[in-house]
């Protein structure tokens, strides 16, 4: 009995479950076809090995896909009764659930996120998103946009790599429920689960052309969002690219929704339940390796509670297990790409240079793949880059405050406005803070909760438009 700590035994999920294939093709007009773009190789960020070769779209392919979507809209989907559209979406929801294990393992392989998260969050929420929106398809007249709101037409959608299947579902489900057809571009580094979703659409007998999926890099995304025959563009990704898309679409009259970056403040008052707050802070910044636009990346803690909270926080973070995404015991998986790892590393170096105090979890890291140990900066001031810029990695910046007014002023001192957190036992304070924080989502005594019934989206430079709930339908209706 020389140790009171029980070591975890490895508990890896089998990668065979992913049904990984050597090559994947794009999905246009109901068929898997070879793209005429330069094929890409998608890698497992936890090991660096190539997972599969994926064909990508050229500009001509984008045009073909938009034409297919237009035909499907004009001839089939746009005039199909909502009750019939609904049944396709219900089918897709069910089939995602049926293939949940396969999708979860494939997602973890391609993205690097822990299997615990892909299994418990990404995949079930993706299925739930289709199920929720299926129900809306024949009830749109009750949504508050007039008695018979019409679809827009063809939607071009570009999604990021942090929640590949879930973001595809957030985009496709409401678009289809409202009667639109879509051309979706998954992220360059994580195309696989979207292509399995395409297979599900095929198996669900979704009419050809209603959903088209075009893998590729940013140039394919740019060609798509600028295609003249789109009626709607939806983008989730960086604020920089979002601004470019808004600029490009100026004067086109095309409806646009943007879900962009964030730098959320997670505000902890001195009366907060500290142990719960620690769990919430950890979930807020280390969920999905911090690759979350609404991550609680700025911890604002009451000065009087800061020392105690930081001690507890460091102790808790030390227990986080960083490593094999397929291991069911893993808390923090792999950084999605070498490029993202380089960005995190350079921002952390900026934190060092600007004089913040860095603490890094002593956890062991795998010797291959892209990994970054959970990191906490204290003594951060508002002018530092690590307090202003979105790091999109497992790096927390800690600032302190003395009064609620100061907390609000610091929390709102950002061009972003996607999410915020509040931790306090005082109900009146929660409600007052929730109304003063300029952010689209406020989590009180919790963090990073998502549900298809709850609208999600930002204020200010975090974008416009909502996803989920009744409010989310507006993005895909001609209202």
């Amino acid at each position: 009995m020389d140790s009171t700590v029980w070591e975890y035994a490895p508990a890896p999920e089998s990668r065979d479950i992913a049904n990984l294939r050597a090559s994947y093709r794009m999905f246009v007009d109901g068929q898997f076809v070879d793209g005429t773009g330069e094929p890409l190789k998608t890698i497992n960020p936890a090991t660096g090995e190539v997972l599969a070769e994926v064909s990508t779209a050229s500009t001509a392919d984008v045009d073909r896909a938009v034409k297919a979507a237009r035909r499907a809209y004009d001839r089939v989907w746009g005039k199909m009764p909502g009750a019939e559209r609904a049944k396709y979406l219900f089918r897709i929801a069910r089939m995602i659930a049926e293939r949940a294990r396969e999708l979860a393992v494939l997602e973890s392989l391609d993205n690097g996120k822990p299997i615990r998260e892909s299994r418990d969050v990404d995949v079930p929420t993706a299925s739930a998103h289709f199920f929720y929106h299926a129900g809306w398809a024949d009830k749109l007249g009750y949504a508050g946009y007039g008695p018979d709101p019409k679809p827009l037409g063809v939607a071009g959608q570009v999604i990021p790599w942090n929640f590949p299947l879930l973001m595809a579902s957030w985009k496709i489900a409401p678009a289809l429920a409202c009667g639109n057809t879509v051309v979706l571009k998954p992220a360059e580094t994580t195309p696989l689960t979207a292509l399995v979703l395409a297979e599900i659409c095929q198996q669900a007998d979704l009419p050809p052309g209603v959903v088209n999926i075009l893998p590729g890099a940013g140039d394919v995304g740019a060609a798509l969002v600028n295609h003249p025959d789109l009626n709607k563009v939806a983008f989730t990704g960086s604020t920089e690219v979002g601004k470019q898309i808004q600029r490009d679409l100026a004067g086109t009259g095309r409806k646009l929704t943007l879900e962009l970056g964030g730098k959320a403040a997670n505000v902890v008052f001195e009366d907060a339940p500290l142990d719960q707050a620690v769990e919430g802070i950890v979930n807020g910044i280390f969920f999905n390796q911090g690759h979350v636009c609404c991550a609680g990346s700025r911890l604002l803690v009451a000065e009087s509670a800061a020392d105690e909270l930081l001690a507890k926080l460091r102790a808790r973070i030390t227990t986080l297990r960083v490593g094999d995404p397929l291991d069911k015991n893993t808390d923090v998986g792999a950084i999605n790409s070498a490029a993202q790892l380089a960005r995190i590393t350079s921002l952390v170096a900026a934190g060092d240079d600007e004089g913040a105090e860095r603490w890094t979890s002593p956890c062991p890291l795998p010797d291959k793949g892209f990994f970054f140990a959970p990191t906490v900066f204290s003594n951060v001031s508002q002018a530092m880059r690590i307090a202003r810029e979105e790091i999109f990695g497992p790096v927390l910046s800690v600032l302190t405050f003395r009064t609620p007014d100061e907390a609000v002023a610091k929390a709102n001192n950002t061009p972003y406005g996607l999410s915020a957190g509040v931790w306090t036992e005082k109900g009146s304070r929660i409600l007052a803070m929730a109304s003063r924080l300029r952010a689209g989502v406020v989590w009180a005594n919790t963090f990073n909760r998502f549900d298809p019934a709850a609208p999600f989206g930002g204020y200010q430079e975090s974008g416009f438009g909502r996803e989920g709930g009744r409010a989310g339908l507006e993005a895909y209706l001609d209202v």
Binding site: R247, T446, P455, F456
Partner: protein, 289 residues
Amino acid sequence: MSDTRVTVAKTYKLYIGGAFPRSESGRSYPVSDSRGAFLANAAQASRKDARDAVVAARKAFGGWSGATAYNRGQVLYRVAEMLEGRREQFAVEVAASEGVAPRRAQSLVDAAIDRWVWYAGWTDKLAAVLGAANPVAGPYFSFSMPEPTGVVVVLAPQTSSLLGLVSVVAPVLAGGNTCVVVSGQSRPLPAITLSEVLATSDVPGGVVNMLTGRTAELAPWLAAHGDVNAIDLGGAPASQLVDLERAAAGTVKRVLRAPATEPDWLRVPDIARLRAFLETKTVWHPMGV
């Protein structure tokens, strides 16, 4: 009184932060009636005036957005009351500005008054109509509510000098936003007289800031301004529309695009203009004992 009495002519100035300053630039421009006869000189606002107006609007945002919806409704209703009291004056000004017959001018003014009443009644219904209790799949109470977008720039219609102006400003205020308005360029006088109404209607200073001058000169600065959250391009010159929308993208502003032609403002509005300048905020809290 002898009928040779000389009338006291009004000096038309800007309305910024609750005060009526001249343009800091010292510039003014002549305003004529529809037949070309001189009516008055209006202040020609500058870039600096526009920036001052944004500062005033930002300063007023906390108070106005934080006021109760009931209070905002009462204030907007008060505007209708004040306007009703100056009904004849506005009819004369609208007739002169727009060149319409007196009866037509009167009906436009009446519609403008009624529009304030319509929007006054919306302030405390918006959350019920646009908000929601979200039935999430977990032990959480989740609700969503509309909140004002922030500081809104309104490029007011160029044709309809009062009814059009009221139709675009009232929904911005009803949602709890503050605004910087650039009045119609060649028909600015009813806008300034409306500012006098606002100033005496318990609308806090800075909630509405009225600029007169050249829309094409002011709009680019306002579209690119970092402390503006949204812009209504309704009254923008067609030649600038693309550039203004591009400039607005620099800070991801909400853009209400201009319709191809100015709408018929006498039509009963819907809530689209309210929705255009509202955000949805979703709040979550765990449930448990």
